[in-house]
Each structure stands twice: as C-alpha cells, then as structure tokens.
C-alpha cells in the first residue's frame, strides 16, 4: 500500500499544474455537454491534445500524443483538472466509446481517418444501438442493411440516440445476416448523419428536455467498406464498445464532486433559521452518503491499481455501473429533499443557457433514473454480476419466446 506518487508521476503532476497556471484562463466552463462544442471549446480541446492531456496514449500516427500506456498518468491528469475546476476536455460517445473500439479492433485506415478528428472534437459521433423493440435485449436489433452495388442499404429505426441532432457520424448496429442466429447476424457500420433518407426527431424525456432522439432510416446508403471488423461481427464489436461505456457511467470523480456540492448545499440551506447540516435527520443521511462515497473512491483506487498491473478486476469492475448510478441518485435525492418546496420551481433551459441551481439538482435527480436504465439497465448489470461475476447459472432460455407473453 503506497498512496504517494512516484517521481515520474510527481513530475507529470507539476507539468499539469504549470499548464493550468499558464493556460487555465482559456478553459471553457466545466459542465454543459448538451450541444456541439463551440470555437472556444475546440481550441481548448486542441491544446489538451497537443499537451497529451487528451488522447495521451493514442499513437501519434492516429492524432494522439503517443505516450506509453499508464493509467496512473491519466488519473494524475484528471485529478489536477478536477482540483483546479478546469475543463478536462470533451467527454462524448465518439471519444469514450468509438475511439477505444477502433484502437482495439479497427483497421489502420479507419484509425487514421477517424481517431484524430474525433479526439479533437471536430467530428461528433452518436451511437445507433437501441431500438423500440430491442433495449436490454440489444442483440435482437432489427434495423436491417442489405448489400447492393457496393453499398449497404439501411432501413429501420433507432431510439435513445443522444446527440444525433448535432452529430456528424453514427456507429450503427444493424442486421446484415438475417438467416444467421441473432448474435451472429449483426454488423457494425459507420455512417454520415448527412446521408439522404436519414431523419432525426428529438425525443422529449421526463427531464423536460430532449437529451435523446429517434432516428429513422429509409434506404440510407452506406459504402460497403464502412464496416468495423466484418460481416456478422457486430455483436462482438458492440461489446467492446459497451465495456467502455459502463466504466464511463460509474465515475468516482463525479460522485466526489457531487458530494462536495451537497455538503455546500446543506450548509447554506436553512429551515426556520437553522442550517440543515445541523439538523440530525439531514446530517445523518449526508454522513451515510459520505461513507459510501469514501468507499467508492477507495474502490476506484483499487481498480486503478489493478488496471496498471494488468490484473483483471472481474466482479469489482462489473459492480461499478450499478453501484455508481444508485449512489449518484441518492446523492441527488438528498439535495432535492434539502431544497424542499423552495427547490420546486423548475425551468430547464435550452442548449444555450445555464440552468439555475435548483433546476440543475432536479435534472440530476431525474436524469440519474435514465442512467440506471441506459448503457445496460441495472437489472442487466445484476445479471452480469451474478452470472459472470459470481458464476451463477443463467436463466434457462425460453424455447418458444413468441408463445409466452404474447400468446
């Protein structure tokens, strides 16, 4: 057990600190992320890539910084940006999910073409996975693509496509081999959002905003070579991508930040002239949450160490999304309860204005329910924990699914 930094990491830490001192003023505001990055954000992102604070381990040939893999370096960089409350760069599905997927299974040409522009924020991606009839049962995707004269012709519908209304490109899971068993009939295509026949309709959610879209495909043409790995390999590629999404959702840094905001809120909210942090019922809930956040922070250090040592964390990684979303929701719940009646006025703003504090907490509280459902719902996570983590047997397959529940 050694929680101190090595000389190499201390050196990096002081580099990051001096970068932040020198350039911190150019940083866009932390938060946001509901719209296309503006000029200021793109300039900042480019600066971060140049200094190796984004895309650090991505080879230079693909537009990255080319540092050898070292998760501890990423952790040092993230901690310094968080501590200084400086924007640590774009987090979006292209950067967090497609880039690692292409690095793992893409062709050299695909990596050269897409990784650089994606990490610089010049190309924004959306994810075409879920469909109205295949959510948790993702492998049941029915959107189909058939090969005609060197093009895939795509027809069908996707749902929950966040950022589709401003994205440039989509990574799409669709059925190309209708005669094969369901997991073997899928392919993973890359397509332009400008393609004729593609229609994006905003999907208003329970937050009152439209964080997601429905996307409709009518004879959309996609050049045949815009496929990742190959025909029938879509399920394999999709799982490579999902692995990265689940880690993105259960972020301990986000919980720590939210806890700090919550402590601030309880200190500064009064009922009958008493600060809520002095009211036992609120304070006890806060303390319970503080203990849990401490546990997840320590757990995160353990995962980080295991990643650095090349140890498979197994079930310890599988619990992150389920445990993290539940804790995040309970943190937001206490904030909403502390705000009480005065926190009920709710005016979510569009993409170009900031929400007031009470609305922000209420959006977190409501949006977190979505996080429990998206990226593999928490019940799916519990299946994964039970079956892959604890080695419990799967539910027996239903032989005639159509006859049950629809009969």
């Amino acid at each position: 057990m050694d929680l101190s930094l090595s000389d190499k990491h201390r050196e990096l830490q002081s580099q990051v600190r001096s970068f932040i001192r020198q350039h911190g003023g150019e940083s866009p505001k932390v938060g946001g992320g509901r719209k296309r990055p503006d000029r200021k954000t793109l300039d900042w992102q480019r600066l971060l890539v140049e200094h190796g604070y984004v895309g650090r381990t991505i080879p230079r040939d693909y537009g990255g910084f080319g540092a050898p893999p070292d998760v501890m370096e990423s952790a040092v960089i993230a901690a310094e940006f968080a501590h200084a409350n400086i924007y640590a760069g774009l987090t979006n599905q292209g950067i967090s999910m497609l880039v690692p997927t292409l690095l793992e299974v893409g062709t050299d040409e695909q990596r050269r073409q897409w990784i650089g522009p994606t990490i610089r924020g010049e190309v924004i991606w959306c994810q075409g996975y879920s469909e109205p009839g295949s959510g948790s049962d993702l492998a049941n995707a029915q959107t189909k693509a058939t090969l005609q004269d060197g093009n895939w012709i795509v027809n069908g519908q996707k749902i929950w496509t966040s950022s589709a209304h401003y994205a440039d490109w989509m990574f799409l899971l669709c059925r190309t081999e209708p005669d094969k068993p369901k997991h073997e009939g899928l392919s993973y295509l890359l397509l332009s959002m400008q393609s004729p026949g593609l229609e994006v309709r905003p999907l208003k959610t329970m937050t009152g905003r439209s964080e997601f879209n429905e996307t409709f495909f009518t004879d959309v043409k996609v050049p045949a070579e815009q496929i990742v790995v190959g025909r029938g390999k879509g399920w394999y590629v999709a799982n490579v991508t999902l692995k990265h999404e689940r880690l993105m959702i259960g972020d301990a840094g986000k919980m720590t930040h939210r806890l700090e905001q919550l402590i601030h809120l309880l200190r500064n909210t009064e009922i009958d002239g008493r600060s809520l942090i002095g009211v036992a019922e609120f304070r006890d809930r806060l303390l319970k949450l503080q203990g849990e956040v401490l546990a997840w922070k320590a757990h995160n250090l353990r995962l980080l160490t295991e990643a650095a040592q090349g140890v498979d964390s197994g079930v310890r990684r599988m619990i992150v999304k389920y445990g993290g979303t539940m804790l995040g929701f309970r943190l937001a719940s206490l904030a909403v309860d502390a705000l009480g009646a005065a926190g009920l006025p709710y005016e979510p703003q569009g993409e170009d204005a900031e929400d007031d504090d009470a609305t922000t907490w209420n959006i977190d509280y409501i949006y977190d329910v979505g996080l429990m459902i998206g990226g593999g719902s928490n019940n799916i996570q519990k299946n994964i924990i039970g079956e892959r983590g604890l080695d419990l047997p799967r539910e027996p397959k239903v032989q005639n699914a159509a006859a049950i529940g629809r009969g």
């Binding site: 057990m1 050694d2 929680l3 101190s4 930094l5 090595s6 990491h9 501890m72 952790a75 200190r267 002239g273 008493r274 600060s275 942090i277 002095g278 304070r283 006890d284 806060l286 303390l287 319970k288 503080q290 203990g291 849990e292 401490l294 546990a295 997840w296 320590a298 757990h299 250090l301 353990r302 980080l304 160490t305 295991e306 650095a308 040592q309 079930v315 310890r316 619990i319 389920y322 445990g323 019940n379 996570q381 519990k382 299946n383 924990i385 039970g386 079956e387 983590g389 604890l390 080695d391 419990l392 047997p393 799967r394 539910e395 027996p396």
Partner: protein
Amino acid sequence: MEFALSQEQRLFDDSLRGYLADRLPMERLRALAEPGDGFDAALWQGLNELGLHGLLVPERFGGAGLGMLDAAVAAEALGNAAAPLPFAGTVMATLAFMSGATEAQQDNYLPSIAAGESRFAVGFAGLAGQTGTASVTLDGDRLSGHLTAVMDAGAPTHLLVFLRDGTAAVTEASAATLTLRRSVDRTRPLTDIVFGNVRAERLDAANDKLAAARRVLDAGRVVLAADTLGAAQRMLDGAVAYAKERVQFGRVIGSFQGVKYMLADCVTMLEPCRALVWYAAHAQDAMPGEARLTALHAKAQLGDVGRDVARITTEAHGGMGFTDLLGLHYWFKRISFNRQVLGGPERCREEAAELQGWTLQA
C-alpha cells in the same frame, strides 16, 4: 501509487486462513460456543506461533513491528473463520502502550503481549458511545467503580480502562471482580467489571491523552470493521455456493433472478467496503489527517452493510439458513456483535459530524 496488499501481506493472509480453516472446523466452533466463555488456549498458542499477537509490537520488544493494514488483514481472516480471540483487545492495548506508556512500562508489557503471555480486555468508561453503565474513578493509583459489557473478555490476564478524559489505567484481571456474560455471539462473551479500590498503573505519557485514547479506540473500530468484512464475505461465499447446489422447480436456485439479484446486491455493497477498510487501516498509520474520519466511516459502513449481507445471505439459504445445523448464525451474530461494540453506526457518524464541525451550526 499502489492501492493493494503487498506480497508479504497476501502470504500472511494465506497462512492465517490456512491455519484457521484447519484448526477451527464447524464442530470445533460449536464445541467452543457451548460454554460461551470465548477462549481457546490451543488456538491462542497456535496463532502466537504465526506471530499474530505481536503483529503491531515494535521489533525491539519482540514483535513484528507491522501496521494497521496488517492488523486489518488479520482481522478479516479472523472474522471469516469466526475465531474466538481477543484480537481487538490486543491491538488496542499494544497501541495504548506505544502512545501512552513510559519506556519502563513499555519494557514491562509489550514483550509479554508479543509473546502471547498477556491478554487484554479493554474497557471505555465513556468515549466509545456504548450503552450500559460505566462509572470509574482513578485516584492516584487506585481504581474504583464499574464497567458493563466490556468486549474481548475471554480469559484476560489484564484490564485496560480508558476514562472519559482519555486517561488510561492498567490492572491485573485478578485484582478486579469480573462477571462473564455469554453474549448473543456465543464465541465472544462480554464481562461486567467491578474495581474495588484496586491498584492500577496510569498510562499518561501521551502529550494529548484524549487524542491518544481516540486513536486507540479508532484502531479498535477499524479492526471490528475488518472482522465484519471477513464474516460477511464468508456468508456471501456460502450463499453463492448454496445457490449453485440447491435445486427447486427443477433448477438450481441461483439461476432464478430473485436469488441472483440478492447476491448481486450483496457483492455490490460489500466489495467497495473492502477498499474502505484497507484505506482506513492505512490512514491510521500513514495519513493522520484522514485517520479519524475514515475509521468512523469504516465502522459505521461495515455495521450497516454487514447487517444487510448477513440478513440477505441467511435468507438465500432458505429454511436451512434459519436452522442451527448449518451454523450460519455464528457469522450473523458475530456481525451483530461487531456492530454494537465500541459505538454503533449512529454514534460513529455523530462523531464524524463533530469532527467536521457539522454539529455546531445552528
């Protein structure tokens, strides 16, 4: 940065677990629980040979000179085996002598702790936030009064008592009147103690005796948290194994999502607790600024998660879990015991609130 057990710690853990599995099978545990007096001389001696009792005693006094993380590793293994052993008392007494005793007192007591010749029951008159009554006065070297529900009471040779202001006093167990009480955890009794103007040694070499007393108390709490972690993990492992064997409706019950989700919940609650216990134990030695807060949260969090895991895993065993036959209840009750002694979750969180200045704001 490396947040992991060292190779030496893993080897120590393996040898301890191997020894306990060998020496403490279920029938032996039952035999020890029958009288309920909480002491097994052979086990005590065997663990002495593994170096357990002198774990924290500095090498110059014959110990291993190790730290609280090592103690937490040991406590987890002891909880896993439901070992009847006054380990928290040994850890707290060692730290009390290291922080509050004169050199002569250290010379006198620490080697005998390391050699497994002394066993300490440690009582807090106030400070720890236990229920029960406690009224102890120290007049010069004379100790009077009484304490109830003192833990680690299995065959103590010495008693270490902390007064409300942090003053500590040591006396021989034979000088006081001890009334052993079998507890809900039949492997670990409690004792009520009456001191009738008995001679005691003051431990008052610490600069800030209240802070030193709290460090001892917090170390005891970390040990109990680690013990609960080991006990809860044992119950979870048992429930997972049972769910893979037990067949109902023509399927093993672990294939039903109802059962699977109960166990998935347990692992999701418990696994971050292991990191919390390690972090808190490490903080006691290496991060003074975080030591109190993390010890309090570890004790509180393991108290709550331990209870949930104990209840859910017992339930997963169905009717068999409720019987005496499987013996699951030894771990269930051990977890209950650990929750209540040295201050329950409510008390620990209240102390954490005070520590952060959250109780003063009106």
